[in-house]
Symmetry: C2
Subunit: 347 residues, 2 copies
């Protein structure tokens, strides 16, 4: 018997974190008798008087949203990080260690329309979202104590999103968190040894084999990474190596909006549902010198496995030992690649 990663259990290396993940390709036949999620409701009004994100409505802190027409950002009323946190350190014999953390949390409404999601928005309106991501990031980075800025979206109540109004968040803080720190180490190491971006070299390999590609345009590639953990996980990589979203020119920004729409349409079409996920942009840390190895990318971690109602659980073994997946990255990419670029609701 010869080893084949389409058939046999194996581990794969995540080159961005240095961690391994476990793949069990033979296990897709497992019957599912467990938890089934409620099917998400797909019709919402374009304005909801009870939504604290709709234009003109009252928020929990009492303030009133402006009658915004374009993407709109404000400071989170329940920020998990605060600007005026006093400095402090606890250290009991190295065994109990704590450090204060300063930060700012922002909410970004993608659209005044309560009933839309990214795949249903016009490309030009997505361009506006990207431009707001750029200016918010640049504003936050002006604080000299700022070190890292995480832009992300939780989509769907299965992903802990407490309001279906299309929106994302920014958590910006005074130190570099665990995941980008791991990436920082991997990016720097490869750059030192090769004087090139690890993601540029990785992309070249993926363009050769093509088996994990989902879609691409002149400036971006969406693919299921070789080391994907979530069943339909994707990574969006810019063809030109930049550290920050605001380094993209107008043409690249348009291309980013286009591929964001294309990828999220494919996601919605996969199980004919408003496809839940957490997405996040990994940009280089700020105010900490040069980051020549860092390469802009965006992760999509969707929880669904088999249908709109059956998800993959990252539990017991995954929490105690190691992330694990059943279908291979290649199978997932093929499925996504072959899906239509036209949203199932607009047919």
């Amino acid at each position: 018997m010869e080893f084949s990663f389409e058939e046999h259990p194996h581990k794969r290396l995540n080159i961005l974190t240095g961690d391994w993940i476990l793949v069990s390709p033979h296990r897709t036949k497992r019957p599912w008798q467990g938890k089934v999620e409620a099917h998400a409701i797909t019709t919402r009004p374009s304005y909801d008087p009870n939504c604290y994100l709709c234009p003109g409505n009252k928020r929990s802190d009492g303030s009133i949203n402006p009658d915004y027409k374009a993407p709109f950002a404000f400071t989170n009323d329940f920020s998990s990080l605060l600007k005026d946190t006093p400095d402090g350190i606890v250290n009991v014999k190295g065994l109990l260690q704590a450090k204060s953390e300063k930060g700012i949390c922002r909410v970004i409404c993608f659209s005044p329309r309560h009933d839309l999601t990214l795949p249903q928005m016009d490309v030009t309106d997505i361009v506006d979202v990207i431009n707001l991501w750029k200016t918010e990031f640049q504003e936050l980075a002006k604080n000299d104590w700022m070190r890292y800025i995480q832009i992300f979206e939780n989509k769907g109540d299965i992903m802990g999103c407490s309001n279906p109004h299309p929106h994302g968040q920014i958590w910006a803080q005074s130190s570099v968190p665990v995941e980008p720190e791991k990436e920082q180490i991997q990016f720097q190491k490869y750059f030192k040894e090769n004087n090139r971006s690890i993601l540029s070299d990785y992309l070249a390999e993926e363009e050769k084999s093509k088996e994990r590609l989902v879609c691409e345009n002149a400036h971006f590639v969406a693919l299921v990474p070789f080391w994907a953990v979530w069943p339909y996980e994707c990574i969006l990589i810019s063809k030109r190596q930049v550290q920050y979203t605001h380094q993209f020119n107008e043409e690249e920004t348009l291309a980013l909006a286009e591929i964001l729409k294309k990828l999220t349409i494919k996601y919605d079409n996969l199980f004919e549902t408003s496809f839940p996920y957490s997405s996040g942009i990994h940009q280089a840390p700020v105010n900490n010198g040069e980051n020549p190895g860092w390469h802009w990318h965006m992760h999509f971690y969707p929880p669904l496995l088999r249908s709109a109602t059956v998800k993959k659980f990252m539990v017991g073994y995954e929490m105690m030992a190691n992330p694990q997946r059943d279908i291979t990255a290649e199978q997932a990419a093929k499925k996504l690649r072959e899906l239509s670029d036209v949203h199932y609701l607009s047919k």
Copy 2:
């Protein structure tokens, strides 16, 4: 303003993994408008003719369960790891790396009774479960290629458990997975520097302050670790440093059964529900020489945050950047500590 970790956002160090976690103590007042889980059904028949784990019933591979009276183990019909995996390595320029992985997956039925869970079982019956954990572990470790054996339980459908019959699993494999590997590094480092177990020294500090203790007996302590991520996360630590469950003598085994019952009763009492969690025992790797720094412990990761129906989501920020929690470890420990030791259903 002086920094206080009961009030201000901060990071804490997990001494077992070397990772930091983010704590936002001020954020518990956040209203919840998001997903609400279905309340778990608490009454089940003691025998279910459709359950593939009940005694005498047919499993998915066609075999018939014996009419077992004590805890019963068998090889998982849908094992994610297989014994007869051929050896193999893929390495494309260091960018695409995969390695075959050999292993054995076992299922352990805790009781023939379909309607029980650990907190509802007699202590002597829990002793039988622990003894089966010991013999299964020792049998699996006899394979010379075996390196790591993960014993765990997913409890509740919210934790991806596909069958409510009380059971746990064992995934045993030919390499050491990510989480125990991190612990191995931390255990060894501390032992080299101090010639003592880091968990023994940590336990001494916790016994002094007492604010994170949940319950204890002569041989074990259950506490909310300083670096807990999940709202009511607990760690169970043996007072005597051993590497493996089978090193516990009879008296210690009984004490382990007792504290397992006590802790899981408190959990059920917290929200008066069959409390979901993933638990797992971290024992030293096998067939790889001495592990003098390793200290036996067991993790409990429960997802619930505010009630039987509102959970903590580890999503967007947590996936992209850093684990985050709202209530502090101290608040959670106090709540658990003050709960009754008598199960709410038996009152």
